[in-house]
Symmetry: C2
């Protein structure tokens, strides 16, 4: 099955919003062995919708459309679908009732625009939208499936999960694509490529390899396809076992793992507790950790010590150390880490202090200079990094690097991987 | 000028990464009056690249390609461009020298794969990439401009800003599109639409209006085009002045403003200082604030009080209040706010305490229940919200709502807008 995703909306074409829907849909389809061959974004003009969707129905078996169904969209998309499928709009009573209930629950009168959202093309199957007023619509003609959904991500996802994905799964006939992604940290792309060149050259021809670089890690995606999922998974796992022998310390996780989820798992496994003392990362490490459900089981809390007085008053940093070495120094960041660990009665602590930029640098400590310390009752490890000039990148890099140092302190008891290599 | 953006890479089609490049490019082109009519994502197969780019050259005046140029891409994109433009690859000496320098600076040997990135089609103009090893390439034939760039966002952006945008600006002949975006908070889309219906109906026909909803705010984008930029801007501003009379308290900012940047501006203007006591938002408010350059001028620091002991020990919350009312209560959140304000010697403070989910709810306090307090020396305002079941959304909604309450406390001295309406 070859699929295409069409997103409708001027806001994507003028760059006001980023299309996150397509990535989510593509990922879901992929797991069912459905290949998304193309993603197309167009404006919500009737002509453009008709010509693009007409061609899509011609070229692909499965057409997924998002957007163009909001209460203020003037039904352009629905009218275009009516023309393509030679039909007319009618009011879908159950949907109207659903919309009525939503408004009654909010103690609000039903507006004309919202009531109109219950109108659908007469030969479509209505896909109930539990999270909003615009229903999904499914057209099935000549073995081609077209599904139109609202563009609001959590409405689209609900319709996909309740209606679309179960239906597609039952049609996939057992054919499946297996992807396994290996997350590495500490080696730039070309170095990783050379380090694992021999392994890569010896990969069986039915396993595909893709490099997925990001500013924070390089991911390696191994893919293979067939009918027997267990067998394919085993074949891929054998190759990953080989990779683990070559770059054991650079591999920190797999698939949906992230640096923070891997660290969280270590804490939950060892039943230890974490505290933070963040200066230049300004709450970002806490933010990343507390995004995870269940993080309250190991994360006690943290201090965002943006001013020096907080560093001394709340974290017990010696004012003389700040005077002598500056707030961005090994001495201060180690005292911050140990101060936080003791103050919060935690097993481990992270501290960061640096110049995130864009201003505030000096010849000895240019913008991007960051000291990071991780500490346990047994050991304090600290390291200096010089990142770049972009504030948001510096904050995120510092945060992920700090989590990696903590990961290594927990696993190896000391730092073993040269983090600098990645960022030099 | 009609433009198309083509992104090349399997990782977008399988949903492993979100295409943020296209939104950025579209936004930049739009400011030059260049309309992006289509955004297309395809895989890095030679056939797909050739057929899509061939059609793009036929249908559009300007073709922008990102991706498919990494050191591990096997030159598929460059070979396809060679075939389309009937030419061959050669080694661009200046680029090779640039790559050499990057590696020398890192004290690393030059790899074969990286050296190959200096190869470009012989009839293309090479666009220097200061942030990476893969150069951009420009083809100009029959008045059609095709530009291929690497997919790494900060490399693409550098090439666009240095080479592409200045060139396009000089060709635009003064024609320009003006967009002005109004950010509103506190009214759901259909309510906003009804509230401003009369204003909307009276808009001049040469001003376009678009609703851009998001979970956190509804943006209204007014657009118009022509030659005289000042005149267009004035025409749009007149309409916004009318809108301001209808929903004064719901409008919190314009264009690139965000809730956090608006609050930051208020602090800088009034030279006041901010402290935070975050429980359920877990550092997210601190993270949002410290992303802003210059936030150290008003943000002193915060405490992420994830455990109750931190609330009592560091923020001075009365343990009896936690015992009697629970950590998620008006009493506790107000004490947290005032505790943080006094502890950090700040003028204003925000405190949050809630059940972000997905677990931890009870019949009286279901998942999504959040208490937020904002406080100054003169006044403490607190309010209870019941958001949804999604942890990340609850955290973000709580954070933005808290910032909005703070904004209102600073501007109006008390809360005037019914936040609940938005989230009910």
């Amino acid at each position: 099955v070859n699929a295409v995703i069409v997103t409708i909306g001027e806001e994507i074409l003028i760059g006001q919003i980023v299309d996150t829907n397509s990535a989510w849909i593509a990922n879901q389809l992929n797991l069912l062995g459905i290949r998304v061959k193309k993603i197309i974004s167009i404006s919500d003009s009737a002509d453009e919708i008709k010509s693009t969707v007409y061609k899509a129905i011609n070229d692909f078996d499965l057409i997924l459309i998002t957007g163009g169904l909001g209460p203020t969209n003037d039904d352009i998309t629905k009218q275009a679908l009516c023309e393509l499928y030679d039909t007319e709009l009618y009011t879908h009573v159950e949907t109207l009732e659903h919309i009525r209930k939503i408004f009654a629950k909010r103690n609000l009168p039903l507006t004309y625009l919202n009531a109109k959202q219950a109108e659908v093309p007469s030969n479509s199957e209505v896909l109930f939208n539990p999270n909003g007023t615009a229903p999904g619509m499914l057209f099935n003609r000549n073995g081609k499936l077209l599904i139109a959904m609202p563009g609001v991500p959590f409405e689209m996802k609900a319709i996909m999960e309740i209606h679309v994905l179960p239906r597609l799964a039952s049609q996939s006939g057992g054919f499946t694509i297996v992807h396994k992604t290996v997350h590495t940290f500490g080696l730039p792309e070309s170095f990783l490529a050379e380090r694992i060149a021999e392994w890569e050259n010896n990969l069986p021809s039915d396993i595909g390899l893709a490099y997925l670089p990001s500013p924070l890690s390089i991911r390696l995606r191994l893919s293979s396809s067939g009918i027997n999922r267990d067998l394919i998974e085993q074949k891929i796992q054998n190759q990953i076992n080989g990779l683990l022998k070559i770059i054991p310390q650079n591999i920190f996780g797999y698939d949906d793992d992230s640096m923070v989820s891997v660290v969280a798992d270590l804490f939950l496994k060892t039943q230890s507790k974490l505290a933070l003392a963040e200066s230049c990362t300004g709450g970002t490490i806490a933010h990343l950790i507390t995004q995870l459900p269940g993080s309250s089981n190991f994360f006690i809390g943290g201090i965002v010590a943006y001013s020096n007085s907080i560093k001394t008053n709340l974290l017990g940093v010696d004012p003389n150390s700040i005077e002598l070495f500056g707030a961005v120094s090994r001495e201060v960041v180690e005292q911050m880490a140990n101060g936080a660990r003791l103050k919060f009665n935690a097993d481990f602590a992270i501290a960061t202090s640096g110049i995130a930029g864009p201003s505030g640098g000096s010849p000895e400590k240019p913008v991007g200079t960051v000291w990071i310390a991780v500490s346990s009752a047994q050991k304090t490890v600290s390291e200096r990094f010089v990142f770049g000039h972009d504030r948001e990148r510096n904050i995120l890099r510092s945060s992920i690097t700090a989590l990696n140092m903590l990961r290594q302190l927990i696993i190896y008891g000391e730092k073993n991987v040269k983090n600098e290599e990645f960022f030099s």
